[in-house]
Protein backbone atom coordinates (compact mmCIF):
# COMPACT_ATOMS: atom_id res chain seq x y z
CA UNK A 1 0.00 0.00 0.00
CA UNK A 2 1.33 3.44 -0.82
CA UNK A 3 0.98 6.69 1.03
CA UNK A 4 -1.19 9.41 -0.48
CA UNK A 5 -1.59 13.09 0.20
CA UNK A 6 -4.41 15.33 -1.07
CA UNK A 7 -4.51 19.08 -0.40
CA UNK A 8 -7.80 20.91 -0.70
CA UNK A 9 -8.62 24.54 0.04
CA UNK A 10 -11.97 25.44 1.60
CA UNK A 11 -13.90 28.63 1.04
CA UNK A 12 -13.21 29.86 4.57
CA UNK A 13 -9.50 29.98 3.82
CA UNK A 14 -8.56 26.74 5.56
CA UNK A 15 -6.33 24.08 4.11
CA UNK A 16 -7.35 20.44 4.50
CA UNK A 17 -4.71 17.70 4.26
CA UNK A 18 -6.17 14.31 3.55
CA UNK A 19 -3.71 11.54 4.45
CA UNK A 20 -4.42 8.07 3.17
CA UNK A 21 -2.68 4.72 2.92
CA UNK A 22 0.38 3.44 4.70
CA UNK A 23 2.68 6.24 5.94
CA UNK A 24 5.79 4.26 6.75
CA UNK A 25 9.45 5.02 6.25
CA UNK A 26 9.85 1.99 4.02
CA UNK A 27 7.40 3.52 1.52
CA UNK A 28 8.13 6.56 -0.62
CA UNK A 29 6.49 9.28 1.43
CA UNK A 30 5.11 12.43 -0.25
CA UNK A 31 7.25 15.49 0.30
CA UNK A 32 5.87 18.29 2.47
CA UNK A 33 7.18 20.79 -0.11
CA UNK A 34 3.79 21.12 -1.88
CA UNK A 35 2.17 22.19 1.40
CA UNK A 36 5.00 24.58 2.17
CA UNK A 37 4.54 26.07 -1.32
CA UNK A 38 0.80 26.40 -0.73
CA UNK A 39 1.45 28.20 2.55
CA UNK A 40 3.89 30.57 0.88
CA UNK A 41 1.74 31.09 -2.22
CA UNK A 42 0.39 34.43 -1.04
CA UNK A 43 -3.21 33.27 -0.82
CA UNK A 44 -4.05 33.77 2.82
CA UNK A 45 -4.43 30.55 4.79
CA UNK A 46 -5.92 30.86 8.27
CA UNK A 47 -6.20 27.29 9.38
CA UNK A 48 -4.73 23.88 8.65
CA UNK A 49 -6.79 20.76 9.33
CA UNK A 50 -6.24 17.06 8.81
CA UNK A 51 -8.36 14.21 7.60
CA UNK A 52 -6.92 10.83 8.53
CA UNK A 53 -9.98 8.64 8.05
CA UNK A 54 -8.27 6.64 5.32
CA UNK A 55 -4.93 6.35 7.11
CA UNK A 56 -4.04 2.67 7.36
CA UNK A 57 -0.69 2.65 9.17
CA UNK A 58 2.05 5.04 10.26
CA UNK A 59 5.45 5.29 11.90
CA UNK A 60 8.14 7.92 12.42
CA UNK A 61 7.92 8.85 8.74
CA UNK A 62 4.49 10.44 9.20
CA UNK A 63 5.58 12.08 12.45
CA UNK A 64 8.57 13.75 10.81
CA UNK A 65 6.34 14.91 7.95
CA UNK A 66 3.76 16.40 10.31
CA UNK A 67 6.41 17.98 12.54
CA UNK A 68 7.78 19.82 9.51
CA UNK A 69 4.37 20.99 8.33
CA UNK A 70 3.38 22.18 11.82
CA UNK A 71 6.71 23.95 12.23
CA UNK A 72 6.20 25.75 8.90
CA UNK A 73 2.67 26.77 9.94
CA UNK A 74 4.03 28.17 13.19
CA UNK A 75 6.47 30.32 11.25
CA UNK A 76 3.80 31.94 9.06
CA UNK A 77 1.25 32.19 11.85
CA UNK A 78 -1.26 29.61 10.61
CA UNK A 79 -3.37 27.84 13.27
CA UNK A 80 -3.10 24.08 13.19
CA UNK A 81 -6.20 22.09 14.07
CA UNK A 82 -4.99 18.71 15.35
CA UNK A 83 -8.42 17.21 15.97
CA UNK A 84 -8.28 15.21 12.79
CA UNK A 85 -5.12 13.36 13.85
CA UNK A 86 -5.17 10.04 15.72
CA UNK A 87 -4.64 10.57 19.49
CA UNK A 88 -1.31 8.67 19.52
CA UNK A 89 0.17 11.01 16.93
CA UNK A 90 -1.08 14.09 18.81
CA UNK A 91 0.62 12.87 21.98
CA UNK A 92 3.93 12.16 20.26
CA UNK A 93 3.90 15.54 18.50
CA UNK A 94 3.21 17.14 21.87
CA UNK A 95 6.24 15.28 23.36
CA UNK A 96 8.45 16.51 20.55
CA UNK A 97 7.22 20.11 20.74
CA UNK A 98 9.76 22.81 21.62
CA UNK A 99 8.29 23.50 25.08
CA UNK A 100 9.03 19.92 26.11
CA UNK A 101 12.77 20.14 25.41
CA UNK A 102 15.45 20.05 28.10
CA UNK A 103 17.58 23.05 28.65
CA UNK A 104 20.16 24.23 31.11
CA UNK A 105 23.21 22.48 29.74
CA UNK A 106 25.74 24.89 28.35
CA UNK A 107 29.17 24.26 27.02
CA UNK A 108 32.25 26.37 26.98
CA UNK A 109 32.99 28.60 24.04
CA UNK A 110 33.18 26.40 20.98
CA UNK A 111 35.85 27.97 18.83
CA UNK A 112 38.44 29.88 20.83
CA UNK A 113 40.75 32.07 18.77
CA UNK A 114 44.18 30.92 17.59
CA UNK A 115 46.04 32.99 20.19
CA UNK A 116 43.81 31.66 22.92
CA UNK A 117 44.50 28.08 21.89
CA UNK A 118 48.26 28.66 21.76
CA UNK A 119 48.17 30.26 25.19
CA UNK A 120 46.04 27.43 26.56
CA UNK A 121 48.42 24.83 25.18
CA UNK A 122 51.43 26.66 26.66
CA UNK A 123 49.77 27.01 30.05
CA UNK A 124 48.81 23.32 29.96
CA UNK A 125 52.46 22.43 29.36
CA UNK A 126 53.56 24.49 32.36
CA UNK A 127 50.82 22.96 34.49
CA UNK A 128 51.73 19.46 33.32
CA UNK A 129 55.40 20.06 34.15
CA UNK A 130 54.49 21.30 37.63
CA UNK A 131 52.34 18.22 38.17
CA UNK A 132 55.22 15.95 37.16
CA UNK A 133 57.58 17.71 39.58
CA UNK A 134 55.02 17.56 42.38
CA UNK A 135 54.45 13.87 41.75
CA UNK A 136 58.18 13.09 41.75
CA UNK A 137 58.48 15.05 44.98
CA UNK A 138 55.66 13.08 46.58
CA UNK A 139 57.16 9.78 45.47
CA UNK A 140 60.56 10.80 46.89
CA UNK A 141 59.03 11.77 50.22
CA UNK A 142 57.07 8.52 50.35
CA UNK A 143 60.28 6.60 49.57
CA UNK A 144 62.18 8.38 52.36
CA UNK A 145 59.34 7.60 54.74
CA UNK A 146 59.53 3.96 53.75
CA UNK A 147 63.29 3.92 54.39
CA UNK A 148 62.55 5.13 57.90
CA UNK A 149 60.29 2.09 58.25
CA UNK A 150 56.98 3.93 58.07
CA UNK A 151 55.90 2.88 54.59
CA UNK A 152 52.14 2.64 54.46
CA UNK A 153 51.30 -0.12 52.01
CA UNK A 154 50.30 -3.74 52.10
CA UNK A 155 53.19 -6.19 51.80
CA UNK A 156 50.95 -8.50 49.78
CA UNK A 157 50.50 -5.79 47.12
CA UNK A 158 54.27 -5.54 46.77
CA UNK A 159 54.69 -9.30 46.43
CA UNK A 160 51.88 -9.64 43.88
CA UNK A 161 53.28 -6.74 41.85
CA UNK A 162 56.77 -8.26 41.99
CA UNK A 163 55.35 -11.48 40.60
CA UNK A 164 53.42 -9.68 37.86
CA UNK A 165 56.31 -7.46 36.80
CA UNK A 166 59.03 -10.04 37.30
CA UNK A 167 58.35 -13.73 36.80
CA UNK A 168 55.36 -13.25 34.52
CA UNK A 169 57.37 -11.04 32.16
CA UNK A 170 60.05 -13.71 31.57
CA UNK A 171 58.56 -15.37 28.47
CA UNK A 172 58.23 -12.17 26.44
CA UNK A 173 61.61 -10.82 27.58
CA UNK A 174 63.11 -14.16 26.60
CA UNK A 175 61.63 -14.12 23.10
CA UNK A 176 62.41 -10.49 22.30
CA UNK A 177 65.99 -10.61 23.65
CA UNK A 178 66.78 -13.81 21.81
CA UNK A 179 65.59 -12.29 18.56
CA UNK A 180 67.39 -8.98 19.13
CA UNK A 181 70.61 -10.94 19.84
CA UNK A 182 70.17 -12.81 16.57
CA UNK A 183 69.43 -9.63 14.63
CA UNK A 184 72.54 -7.91 16.03
CA UNK A 185 74.62 -10.93 15.02
CA UNK A 186 73.26 -10.91 11.47
CA UNK A 187 73.77 -7.19 11.01
CA UNK A 188 77.35 -7.37 12.35
CA UNK A 189 78.11 -10.44 10.26
CA UNK A 190 77.31 -8.66 6.99
CA UNK A 191 80.26 -6.29 7.44
CA UNK A 192 82.64 -8.48 9.46
CA UNK A 193 82.40 -11.37 7.04
CA UNK A 194 83.95 -9.24 4.29
CA UNK A 195 87.15 -9.09 6.33
CA UNK A 196 86.93 -12.69 7.47
CA UNK A 197 86.47 -11.41 10.99
CA UNK A 198 83.18 -13.16 11.86
CA UNK A 199 84.55 -14.06 15.27
CA UNK A 200 84.06 -10.44 16.32
CA UNK A 201 80.31 -10.98 16.01
CA UNK A 202 80.64 -12.33 19.58
CA UNK A 203 82.12 -9.00 20.71
CA UNK A 204 79.44 -6.91 19.00
CA UNK A 205 76.57 -8.99 20.34
CA UNK A 206 78.09 -9.34 23.82
CA UNK A 207 78.94 -5.68 24.36
CA UNK A 208 75.85 -4.43 22.50
CA UNK A 209 73.42 -6.55 24.49
CA UNK A 210 75.04 -6.29 27.91
CA UNK A 211 75.86 -2.60 27.82
CA UNK A 212 72.73 -1.12 26.25
CA UNK A 213 70.39 -3.28 24.22
CA UNK A 214 69.38 -5.72 26.97
CA UNK A 215 68.37 -2.88 29.24
CA UNK A 216 66.66 -0.85 26.49
CA UNK A 217 64.69 -3.82 25.17
CA UNK A 218 63.57 -4.80 28.66
CA UNK A 219 62.62 -1.18 29.31
CA UNK A 220 60.53 -0.96 26.15
CA UNK A 221 58.83 -4.29 26.86
CA UNK A 222 58.07 -3.30 30.42
CA UNK A 223 56.72 0.11 29.44
CA UNK A 224 54.28 -1.55 27.06
CA UNK A 225 53.46 -4.40 29.37
CA UNK A 226 53.66 -3.02 32.88
CA UNK A 227 53.64 0.78 32.54
CA UNK A 228 50.39 0.61 30.57
CA UNK A 229 48.95 -1.83 33.11
CA UNK A 230 49.83 0.51 36.00
CA UNK A 231 48.17 3.44 34.26
CA UNK A 232 45.06 1.39 33.47
CA UNK A 233 44.83 -0.02 37.02
CA UNK A 234 45.19 3.35 38.73
CA UNK A 235 43.00 5.03 36.09
CA UNK A 236 40.20 2.54 36.69
CA UNK A 237 40.59 3.08 40.45
CA UNK A 238 40.29 6.81 39.81
CA UNK A 239 37.12 6.26 37.74
CA UNK A 240 35.61 4.03 40.47
CA UNK A 241 36.45 6.61 43.15
CA UNK A 242 38.67 4.01 44.88
CA UNK A 243 41.47 6.58 45.17
CA UNK A 244 39.08 9.05 46.83
CA UNK A 245 38.11 6.28 49.24
CA UNK A 246 41.78 5.76 50.16
CA UNK A 247 42.32 9.47 50.71
CA UNK A 248 39.26 9.89 52.92
CA UNK A 249 40.51 7.03 55.10
CA UNK A 250 43.81 8.84 55.51
CA UNK A 251 45.95 6.71 53.17
CA UNK A 252 48.21 8.51 50.78
CA UNK A 253 47.57 7.12 47.28
CA UNK A 254 51.23 7.68 46.46
CA UNK A 255 52.42 5.61 49.42
CA UNK A 256 49.73 3.00 49.13
CA UNK A 257 49.58 2.49 45.36
CA UNK A 258 52.60 4.07 43.69
CA UNK A 259 55.36 3.02 46.09
CA UNK A 260 54.83 -0.76 45.90
CA UNK A 261 54.63 -0.57 42.12
CA UNK A 262 57.77 1.50 41.86
CA UNK A 263 59.69 -0.73 44.27
CA UNK A 264 58.59 -3.86 42.45
CA UNK A 265 59.56 -2.55 39.04
CA UNK A 266 62.87 -1.03 40.19
CA UNK A 267 63.84 -4.32 41.82
CA UNK A 268 62.71 -6.54 38.97
CA UNK A 269 64.01 -4.51 36.05
CA UNK A 270 67.75 -5.21 36.69
CA UNK A 271 66.99 -8.91 37.16
CA UNK A 272 65.05 -9.03 33.91
CA UNK A 273 67.92 -7.12 32.29
CA UNK A 274 70.47 -9.76 33.33
CA UNK A 275 68.18 -12.42 31.94
CA UNK A 276 67.76 -10.44 28.74
CA UNK A 277 71.57 -10.05 28.41
CA UNK A 278 71.99 -13.79 28.70
CA UNK A 279 69.27 -14.50 26.16
CA UNK A 280 70.69 -11.93 23.73
CA UNK A 281 74.15 -13.46 23.91
CA UNK A 282 72.58 -16.86 23.42
CA UNK A 283 70.73 -15.57 20.36
CA UNK A 284 74.00 -14.26 18.92
CA UNK A 285 75.55 -17.63 19.61
CA UNK A 286 72.84 -19.45 17.67
CA UNK A 287 73.65 -17.35 14.60
CA UNK A 288 77.42 -17.49 15.17
CA UNK A 289 77.66 -21.23 15.69
CA UNK A 290 74.76 -22.28 13.46
CA UNK A 291 75.25 -20.04 10.43
CA UNK A 292 78.68 -18.39 10.58
CA UNK A 293 80.45 -21.68 11.36
CA UNK A 294 82.15 -20.44 14.52
CA UNK A 295 83.02 -23.00 17.20
CA UNK A 296 80.93 -23.08 20.36
CA UNK A 297 83.92 -22.75 22.75
CA UNK A 298 85.47 -20.18 20.45
CA UNK A 299 82.32 -18.02 20.69
CA UNK A 300 82.10 -18.39 24.50
CA UNK A 301 85.78 -17.52 24.89
CA UNK A 302 85.52 -14.45 22.64
CA UNK A 303 82.43 -13.23 24.52
CA UNK A 304 84.05 -13.59 27.97
CA UNK A 305 87.16 -11.84 26.73
CA UNK A 306 85.14 -8.93 25.32
CA UNK A 307 82.93 -8.41 28.33
CA UNK A 308 83.99 -6.82 31.57
CA UNK A 309 82.15 -6.11 34.80
CA UNK A 310 82.02 -2.43 33.83
CA UNK A 311 79.77 -3.29 30.86
CA UNK A 312 77.48 -5.22 33.18
CA UNK A 313 77.39 -2.38 35.67
CA UNK A 314 76.51 0.15 32.96
CA UNK A 315 73.71 -2.12 31.69
CA UNK A 316 72.32 -2.64 35.19
CA UNK A 317 72.45 1.08 35.89
CA UNK A 318 70.44 1.68 32.70
CA UNK A 319 67.78 -0.82 33.72
CA UNK A 320 67.59 0.53 37.26
CA UNK A 321 66.90 4.02 35.86
CA UNK A 322 64.38 2.64 33.36
CA UNK A 323 62.55 0.84 36.17
CA UNK A 324 62.04 4.12 38.00
CA UNK A 325 61.04 5.96 34.80
CA UNK A 326 58.51 3.36 33.63
CA UNK A 327 56.93 3.07 37.08
CA UNK A 328 56.69 6.82 37.54
CA UNK A 329 55.29 7.42 34.04
CA UNK A 330 52.69 4.65 34.43
CA UNK A 331 51.56 5.67 37.91
CA UNK A 332 51.57 9.40 37.09
CA UNK A 333 49.32 8.94 34.06
CA UNK A 334 47.04 6.65 36.07
CA UNK A 335 46.69 9.12 38.93
CA UNK A 336 46.10 12.00 36.48
CA UNK A 337 43.36 10.01 34.72
CA UNK A 338 39.98 11.71 34.34
CA UNK A 339 36.74 10.04 35.30
CA UNK A 340 35.54 8.33 32.18
CA UNK A 341 36.13 5.03 30.44
CA UNK A 342 37.83 6.67 27.46
CA UNK A 343 40.19 8.51 29.81
CA UNK A 344 41.57 5.16 31.01
CA UNK A 345 42.53 4.22 27.48
CA UNK A 346 44.14 7.60 27.01
CA UNK A 347 46.06 7.21 30.29
CA UNK A 348 47.44 3.82 29.22
CA UNK A 349 48.53 5.12 25.81
CA UNK A 350 50.04 8.22 27.30
CA UNK A 351 51.96 6.15 29.88
CA UNK A 352 53.60 4.06 27.15
CA UNK A 353 54.53 7.10 25.07
CA UNK A 354 55.92 8.96 28.07
CA UNK A 355 57.99 6.04 29.32
CA UNK A 356 59.45 5.16 25.91
CA UNK A 357 60.44 8.79 25.30
CA UNK A 358 62.00 8.90 28.79
CA UNK A 359 63.87 5.64 28.15
CA UNK A 360 65.39 6.89 24.91
CA UNK A 361 66.35 10.26 26.39
CA UNK A 362 67.84 8.60 29.47
CA UNK A 363 69.84 6.18 27.31
CA UNK A 364 71.25 9.09 25.33
CA UNK A 365 72.24 10.95 28.50
CA UNK A 366 73.82 7.90 30.15
CA UNK A 367 75.70 6.89 27.00
CA UNK A 368 77.05 10.41 26.54
CA UNK A 369 78.04 10.64 30.21
CA UNK A 370 79.90 7.32 30.02
CA UNK A 371 81.67 8.55 26.91
CA UNK A 372 82.75 11.78 28.61
CA UNK A 373 83.76 10.02 31.83
CA UNK A 374 85.57 7.31 29.86
CA UNK A 375 83.64 4.42 31.44
Amino acid sequence: MTSELAISRNADGSLLLALAGDWKLTNRLPSPDSILAELASGQAVQRLAFDTAALAGWDSGLLVFLARVIDACGQVGVTVDRDGLPPGICKLLQLASPENQRSGVTRGEKNPSFLERVADAALDQVKGFKEVLAFIGEVTLAFMKMLRGKGDFRRLDLIVTIQETGAQALPIVCLISLLVGMILAFVAAIQLKMFGAQIYVADVVGIGMVRVMGAVMTGVIMSGRTGAAFAAQLGTMQVNEEIDALETLGFSPVEFLVLPRMLALTLMMPLLCVYSDLMGVFGGMIVGVGILDLGFMEYVHETTAALSLTHFAVGLFHSFVFGILVAIAGCLRGIQCERSASAVGYAATSAVVTSIVCIVVATAIITLSCQVLGI
Binding site: L95, A96, P98, N100, V105, S342
Partner: protein, 263 residues
Protein backbone atom coordinates in the same frame (compact mmCIF):
# COMPACT_ATOMS: atom_id res chain seq x y z
CA UNK B 1 -0.01 14.22 31.40
CA UNK B 2 -0.39 12.01 34.39
CA UNK B 3 1.37 8.77 33.66
CA UNK B 4 0.96 7.30 37.10
CA UNK B 5 -2.78 6.89 36.67
CA UNK B 6 -2.78 5.36 33.26
CA UNK B 7 -3.57 1.69 33.38
CA UNK B 8 -3.60 -0.08 30.11
CA UNK B 9 -4.17 -3.73 29.47
CA UNK B 10 -2.53 -5.51 26.60
CA UNK B 11 -4.58 -6.55 23.61
CA UNK B 12 -4.09 -10.16 24.64
CA UNK B 13 -2.18 -11.26 21.59
CA UNK B 14 1.09 -12.91 22.68
CA UNK B 15 4.31 -11.37 21.33
CA UNK B 16 6.97 -13.11 23.40
CA UNK B 17 6.38 -16.60 24.66
CA UNK B 18 8.92 -18.04 27.10
CA UNK B 19 8.68 -21.80 27.48
CA UNK B 20 10.59 -23.85 30.06
CA UNK B 21 13.54 -21.46 29.98
CA UNK B 22 16.60 -22.45 31.99
CA UNK B 23 19.39 -19.89 32.40
CA UNK B 24 22.86 -20.87 33.54
CA UNK B 25 26.44 -19.66 33.69
CA UNK B 26 28.45 -22.78 32.84
CA UNK B 27 27.21 -25.48 35.18
CA UNK B 28 25.71 -22.98 37.63
CA UNK B 29 21.95 -22.84 37.10
CA UNK B 30 20.56 -19.38 37.78
CA UNK B 31 16.84 -19.96 37.08
CA UNK B 32 14.84 -22.83 35.68
CA UNK B 33 11.30 -23.57 34.51
CA UNK B 34 10.48 -20.03 33.47
CA UNK B 35 7.14 -19.95 31.65
CA UNK B 36 5.42 -16.70 30.85
CA UNK B 37 3.87 -14.73 28.01
CA UNK B 38 4.25 -11.08 27.12
CA UNK B 39 1.29 -9.67 25.20
CA UNK B 40 1.21 -6.93 22.61
CA UNK B 41 1.02 -3.49 24.19
CA UNK B 42 2.03 -4.80 27.63
CA UNK B 43 4.40 -2.97 29.91
CA UNK B 44 5.98 -6.05 31.36
CA UNK B 45 8.10 -5.87 34.52
CA UNK B 46 10.83 -8.34 35.40
CA UNK B 47 11.25 -8.00 39.16
CA UNK B 48 13.19 -9.66 41.95
CA UNK B 49 15.93 -8.90 44.45
CA UNK B 50 19.47 -7.92 43.52
CA UNK B 51 21.47 -10.66 41.84
CA UNK B 52 18.49 -12.93 41.14
CA UNK B 53 19.03 -12.94 37.39
CA UNK B 54 16.76 -10.16 36.16
CA UNK B 55 19.33 -8.67 33.82
CA UNK B 56 20.37 -12.14 32.67
CA UNK B 57 16.74 -12.85 31.76
CA UNK B 58 16.70 -9.60 29.78
CA UNK B 59 19.86 -10.69 27.95
CA UNK B 60 18.10 -13.92 27.03
CA UNK B 61 15.04 -12.03 25.80
CA UNK B 62 17.08 -9.82 23.47
CA UNK B 63 19.12 -12.69 22.06
CA UNK B 64 22.45 -11.81 23.71
CA UNK B 65 22.58 -15.08 25.65
CA UNK B 66 21.52 -18.52 24.56
CA UNK B 67 19.15 -20.44 26.87
CA UNK B 68 20.55 -23.56 28.53
CA UNK B 69 17.18 -25.17 27.98
CA UNK B 70 13.77 -24.13 26.73
CA UNK B 71 12.62 -21.73 24.05
CA UNK B 72 11.84 -18.08 23.54
CA UNK B 73 9.29 -17.49 20.79
CA UNK B 74 8.62 -14.15 19.11
CA UNK B 75 5.26 -14.29 17.33
CA UNK B 76 5.75 -18.05 17.26
CA UNK B 77 9.30 -17.97 15.88
CA UNK B 78 11.99 -19.46 18.12
CA UNK B 79 14.99 -17.13 18.09
CA UNK B 80 17.68 -19.74 18.58
CA UNK B 81 16.18 -22.20 16.09
CA UNK B 82 15.86 -19.55 13.39
CA UNK B 83 18.49 -18.95 10.71
CA UNK B 84 20.87 -15.98 10.78
CA UNK B 85 18.67 -13.91 8.42
CA UNK B 86 15.58 -14.51 10.54
CA UNK B 87 17.55 -13.63 13.70
CA UNK B 88 18.67 -10.37 12.07
CA UNK B 89 15.06 -9.56 11.19
CA UNK B 90 13.94 -10.27 14.75
CA UNK B 91 16.77 -8.17 16.19
CA UNK B 92 15.63 -5.22 14.13
CA UNK B 93 12.32 -5.38 15.98
CA UNK B 94 14.12 -4.90 19.32
CA UNK B 95 15.08 -1.60 20.85
CA UNK B 96 17.22 -1.80 23.97
CA UNK B 97 17.99 0.86 26.55
CA UNK B 98 21.00 -0.20 28.60
CA UNK B 99 21.50 0.73 32.23
CA UNK B 100 23.57 3.85 31.72
CA UNK B 101 22.54 4.57 28.15
CA UNK B 102 25.54 2.80 26.56
CA UNK B 103 25.97 5.66 24.11
CA UNK B 104 29.11 5.41 21.99
CA UNK B 105 31.32 8.01 23.56
CA UNK B 106 33.21 8.97 20.41
CA UNK B 107 30.03 10.01 18.57
CA UNK B 108 27.63 12.91 19.03
CA UNK B 109 24.05 12.19 20.09
CA UNK B 110 22.90 12.65 16.48
CA UNK B 111 25.52 10.18 15.20
CA UNK B 112 24.54 7.70 17.91
CA UNK B 113 20.90 7.76 16.84
CA UNK B 114 21.76 7.80 13.14
CA UNK B 115 23.94 4.65 13.29
CA UNK B 116 21.11 2.06 13.14
CA UNK B 117 19.29 4.14 10.51
CA UNK B 118 22.35 4.31 8.28
CA UNK B 119 22.94 0.59 8.73
CA UNK B 120 19.45 -0.74 8.19
CA UNK B 121 17.51 1.74 6.06
CA UNK B 122 17.93 3.22 2.61
CA UNK B 123 16.97 6.74 3.67
CA UNK B 124 18.96 9.68 2.34
CA UNK B 125 21.24 11.51 4.73
CA UNK B 126 18.89 14.52 4.79
CA UNK B 127 15.97 12.28 5.75
CA UNK B 128 18.08 10.61 8.43
CA UNK B 129 19.10 13.99 9.84
CA UNK B 130 15.47 15.04 10.06
CA UNK B 131 14.40 11.76 11.61
CA UNK B 132 17.23 11.88 14.16
CA UNK B 133 16.26 15.40 15.21
CA UNK B 134 12.68 14.29 15.62
CA UNK B 135 13.63 11.22 17.70
CA UNK B 136 15.80 13.36 19.94
CA UNK B 137 13.02 15.91 20.42
CA UNK B 138 10.63 13.05 21.20
CA UNK B 139 12.74 12.28 24.30
CA UNK B 140 13.12 15.99 25.10
CA UNK B 141 16.61 16.43 23.70
CA UNK B 142 15.86 18.66 20.71
CA UNK B 143 18.84 20.94 20.09
CA UNK B 144 21.36 18.54 21.65
CA UNK B 145 22.26 16.87 18.34
CA UNK B 146 25.89 17.99 18.35
CA UNK B 147 26.59 17.24 22.01
CA UNK B 148 28.86 14.36 23.02
CA UNK B 149 27.68 11.90 25.70
CA UNK B 150 30.33 13.21 28.10
CA UNK B 151 28.76 16.67 27.98
CA UNK B 152 25.28 15.73 29.22
CA UNK B 153 23.86 14.44 32.51
CA UNK B 154 23.02 10.83 33.42
CA UNK B 155 19.29 11.33 32.92
CA UNK B 156 19.87 12.89 29.51
CA UNK B 157 22.13 10.00 28.54
CA UNK B 158 19.30 7.61 29.29
CA UNK B 159 16.94 9.70 27.18
CA UNK B 160 19.43 9.76 24.33
CA UNK B 161 19.85 6.00 24.72
CA UNK B 162 16.07 5.71 24.42
CA UNK B 163 16.09 7.80 21.24
CA UNK B 164 18.70 5.40 19.80
CA UNK B 165 16.67 2.38 20.93
CA UNK B 166 13.64 3.81 19.12
CA UNK B 167 15.52 4.76 15.97
CA UNK B 168 14.15 1.90 13.88
CA UNK B 169 10.59 2.11 15.28
CA UNK B 170 10.90 -1.20 17.13
CA UNK B 171 7.76 -2.94 18.28
CA UNK B 172 9.59 -4.37 21.32
CA UNK B 173 11.41 -2.04 23.69
CA UNK B 174 13.59 -3.40 26.49
CA UNK B 175 14.73 -1.33 29.45
CA UNK B 176 17.42 -2.35 31.94
CA UNK B 177 16.87 -0.49 35.22
CA UNK B 178 15.56 2.73 33.63
CA UNK B 179 15.32 4.64 36.91
CA UNK B 180 18.67 3.55 38.40
CA UNK B 181 20.86 6.55 39.16
CA UNK B 182 18.14 9.12 38.45
CA UNK B 183 16.59 11.55 40.91
CA UNK B 184 12.92 10.82 41.73
CA UNK B 185 11.60 13.50 39.41
CA UNK B 186 13.70 12.46 36.41
CA UNK B 187 12.77 8.84 37.14
CA UNK B 188 9.09 9.76 37.16
CA UNK B 189 9.43 11.73 33.92
CA UNK B 190 11.12 8.77 32.27
CA UNK B 191 8.32 6.48 33.50
CA UNK B 192 5.76 8.86 32.01
CA UNK B 193 7.68 8.90 28.76
CA UNK B 194 7.70 5.09 28.64
CA UNK B 195 3.93 5.01 29.10
CA UNK B 196 3.33 7.73 26.51
CA UNK B 197 5.50 6.01 23.93
CA UNK B 198 4.04 2.60 24.59
CA UNK B 199 0.49 3.97 24.30
CA UNK B 200 1.02 6.13 21.25
CA UNK B 201 3.14 3.73 19.25
CA UNK B 202 1.58 0.53 20.54
CA UNK B 203 5.04 -0.69 21.50
CA UNK B 204 5.43 -3.66 23.82
CA UNK B 205 7.76 -2.73 26.67
CA UNK B 206 9.81 -5.04 28.90
CA UNK B 207 11.38 -3.40 31.94
CA UNK B 208 13.86 -4.81 34.46
CA UNK B 209 13.55 -2.89 37.68
CA UNK B 210 13.22 -3.12 41.43
CA UNK B 211 11.95 0.42 41.90
CA UNK B 212 8.56 -0.09 43.50
CA UNK B 213 7.24 3.29 42.41
CA UNK B 214 8.01 2.45 38.77
CA UNK B 215 6.63 -1.05 39.06
CA UNK B 216 3.21 0.18 40.17
CA UNK B 217 3.20 3.27 37.98
CA UNK B 218 3.88 1.64 34.66
CA UNK B 219 3.56 -2.15 34.89
CA UNK B 220 0.48 -4.04 33.84
CA UNK B 221 2.08 -7.47 33.74
CA UNK B 222 5.09 -8.92 35.49
CA UNK B 223 7.11 -11.89 36.57
CA UNK B 224 8.76 -12.27 40.00
CA UNK B 225 12.02 -14.20 40.20
CA UNK B 226 12.97 -15.90 43.46
CA UNK B 227 16.66 -16.90 43.69
CA UNK B 228 16.05 -19.25 46.64
CA UNK B 229 13.92 -21.68 44.67
CA UNK B 230 15.64 -20.70 41.39
CA UNK B 231 12.46 -20.05 39.46
CA UNK B 232 9.58 -17.59 39.04
CA UNK B 233 7.10 -17.59 41.89
CA UNK B 234 4.50 -15.12 40.66
CA UNK B 235 3.30 -13.42 37.50
CA UNK B 236 0.57 -10.98 36.53
CA UNK B 237 -0.37 -7.36 37.12
CA UNK B 238 1.83 -6.10 40.02
CA UNK B 239 -1.09 -4.16 41.56
CA UNK B 240 -3.13 -7.33 41.50
CA UNK B 241 -0.21 -9.31 42.97
CA UNK B 242 0.07 -6.88 45.86
CA UNK B 243 -3.58 -7.50 46.74
CA UNK B 244 -3.88 -11.17 46.05
CA UNK B 245 -0.54 -12.97 46.08
CA UNK B 246 -0.43 -15.81 48.61
CA UNK B 247 3.38 -15.77 48.54
CA UNK B 248 4.79 -13.81 51.51
CA UNK B 249 8.05 -13.16 49.62
CA UNK B 250 6.21 -11.41 46.80
CA UNK B 251 4.20 -9.31 49.25
CA UNK B 252 7.34 -8.52 51.21
CA UNK B 253 9.11 -7.39 48.01
CA UNK B 254 6.20 -5.25 46.86
CA UNK B 255 5.87 -3.54 50.26
CA UNK B 256 9.59 -3.06 50.99
CA UNK B 257 9.43 -5.74 53.68
CA UNK B 258 6.75 -3.92 55.61
CA UNK B 259 3.75 -6.00 54.56
CA UNK B 260 4.46 -9.26 56.34
CA UNK B 261 4.73 -9.67 60.05
CA UNK B 262 7.80 -11.71 60.66
CA UNK B 263 10.10 -12.24 63.65
Amino acid sequence: MNGAEIVKTGSGEPVIDVRGLEMSYGSFVLMRNLDFTINRGDIFIIMGGSGCGKSTLLKHLVGLKQPAKGQILYDGISYWDAGIDEQERLKRRFGILFQSGALWSSMTLAENVAMPLEQYTTLSSAQIRELVSFKLSLVGLGGFEEFYPSEISGGMKKRAGLARAMALDPDLLFFDEPSAGLDPISARLLDDLIIELSESLGTTVVVVTHELASIFAIGNNSVFLDPDVKTMTASGDPKQLLKESPDPKVISFLTRGEGVQQH
